[in-house]
């Protein structure tokens, strides 16, 4: 089938092309058939969910979105809607869009490699895993009234009422927040000048800003769960 010739001894081997028909088209056709068969088989065995007729006066308990939005729903527990529902998704989308412009490492273009782009792959993989961990928590570990249950616990309605939440004092919150972003921006640049110089200031600030925001959401979740902190910065206008 291979029309291109692979001869040993040739120094430059440029034309590694094969005919699309049938090499690629056959595979696509097979993939389409397999997907269809799998999908139809699954549809035959498992019914799509259809809940009760909508009732504006009473939600399901717990009321859960489909699995792919449960990461977002879980984030909404820890942050105000303007942040978790609007700003955070926007930041995620903008961050994803910016990836090709932020990653100026010329290596690793078009093949799998971890060695040549450790930082990029690590950050992306962490974000990807983080998102699916949130989805897992929202799907499997949240019971009635969105209370937390470990996988081995039974969902019940008589879980203990959580303690009242309190805000961090405003000056402390502001200091912590500024310290977090300032330290997160300055320290890596000081410790690894090479890393900073390769990127340039604009790229560096954008990358670290997005990364720190991702880490910051984890920190806020930990603060909420362990210290019942409602807001780190609480003002009459905006709460984080």
């Amino acid at each position: 089938m291979e029309v291109s010739e692979e001869k040993k001894g040739l120094v430059e081997f440029k034309d590694d092309k094969v005919f699309t028909w049938p090499t690629l088209v056959a595979k696509e056709f097979l993939a389409a058939i397999l997907v269809t068969v799998g999908l139809l088989f699954y549809s035959y065995v498992v019914d799509a969910p259809l809940r009760e007729l909508s009732n504006p006066g009473q939600a399901e308990n717990p009321a859960k979105a489909p699995w792919y939005f449960l990461g977002l729903q879980e984030a909404l527990v820890y942050f105000d809607p303007w942040f978790a529902g609007v700003v955070l998704p926007t930041l995620i989308i903008v961050g994803l869009i910016l990836i090709p412009y932020l990653d100026n490492n010329p290596k690793g273009n078009g093949y799998y490699t971890f060695k040549e782009r450790k930082f990029a792959v690590t950050v992306f993989a962490l974000g990807y895993i983080y998102w699916y961990v949130l989805i897992y928590i929202g799907t499997a570990l949240r019971g009635p009234f969105w209370a937390f249950f470990w996988p081995w616990e039974k969902w019940t309605h008589d879980f203990p009422t959580p303690p009242p939440l309190h805000n961090m004092p405003l000056p402390l919150g502001i200091v912590l927040m500024m310290g977090f972003y300032f330290g997160g921006l300055v320290l890596p640049a000081m410790m690894n000048r090479d890393f900073f110089n390769k990127m340039g200031i604009v790229r560096y600030v954008l990358i670290m800003g997005l990364l720190l925001t991702m880490i910051g959401t984890v920190i806020k979740m930990v603060l909420r769960l362990s210290f019942s902190i409602k807001y780190i910065i609480a003002t009459p206008w905006i709460n984080i």
Binding site: V46, A48, L50, A65
Partner: protein, 256 residues
């Protein structure tokens, strides 16, 4: 055997057949090229591709499967539209009809819903693959941007889709979803700094999404139009750009 080959010859060896199908299956390099370039559906591909690009272990076939699922969803979706009316008093009953009364309806609805779930999975895995192969690097930066937009549109299609049955899931999803719009900074009436623009429940961005201050008939109709027409049209246009640019940016990515 002779009978069959004679029959095939009879069917294919005449003016009508040849006016439709220009060439046969003869396995020659010329014919392999013709198969691709003379077929409107297949000429999305170049006649020749780089060898590694045909390997499943390189592409995971995820982009292709996502596109296939989009087509699958389009067909099953159009069929479902024959029975579904986007009216708050009828929507749920139509769904129950589809599940229990309409011939083949349960099967169509199931595969439409599960196909949508599958599409969310494949599109996110496709993004992972493209990231891990560094395929967004120059000259393919902008195609990644289009891809991210398509990911968002896929999620919006799912969102507008699962609220159409007007069951508990859909109703509370639209409640929570549009209340997040209500919290948009500046543009939603409960968002930070909304007072600067004078936002109220009856003039903010949530109002534009719902067509009212409460969730009712206009909201369902809007979700329906977005789901069945507007978003698929936008997504199709972006998909055309996405596929076109793969070709124009030098075909499937690979080691330079």
């Amino acid at each position: 055997m002779k009978l069959i080959s004679d029959l095939i010859k009879k069917i294919t060896d005449n003016e009508i057949w040849k006016s439709v199908f220009r060439h046969g299956y003869a396995d020659t390099p010329r014919n392999r090229v013709l198969q691709i370039i003379s077929n409107i559906w297949l000429h999305i591909h170049p006649p020749k591709v780089r060898k590694h690009g045909t390997k499943i272990r390189f592409t995971w076939c995820m982009g292709g499967i996502t596109f296939f699922l989009f087509l699958f969803e389009t067909i099953t979706g159009i069929l479902l539209m024959f029975y579904y009316v986007p009216d708050v008093n009828r929507a749920y009953a139509d769904m129950v009809d589809l599940m229990y009364v309409v011939p083949f309806g349960r099967f169509l609805r199931n595969s439409h819903r599960w196909g949508a779930h599958a599409m969310v999975i494949t599109v996110s895995v496709h993004m992972l693959r493209v990231f891990l192969t560094g395929s967004y690097k120059p000259p393919r930066q902008f195609n990644w941007v289009i891809g991210v937009t398509l990911l968002v549109l896929t999620l919006l299609l799912s969102f507008t889709g699962y609220l159409l049955p007007w069951d508990q899931l859909g109703y509370w999803a639209i409640t929570v979803g549009t209340n997040m719009a209500r919290a948009t900074p500046l543009l939603g009436h409960e968002g930070p700094f909304a007072y600067i623009l004078g936002m109220r429940a009856d003039n903010d961005i949530r109002f534009a999404l719902l067509g009212g201050t409460t969730i009712g008939a206009p909201a369902l109709l809007r979700a329906y139009v977005w789901h069945c027409i507007a978003i698929p049209v936008i997504a199709s246009a972006l998909m055309m750009m996405h596929f076109w640019r793969i070709r124009k940016d030098g075909g499937i990515s690979g080691p330079l």
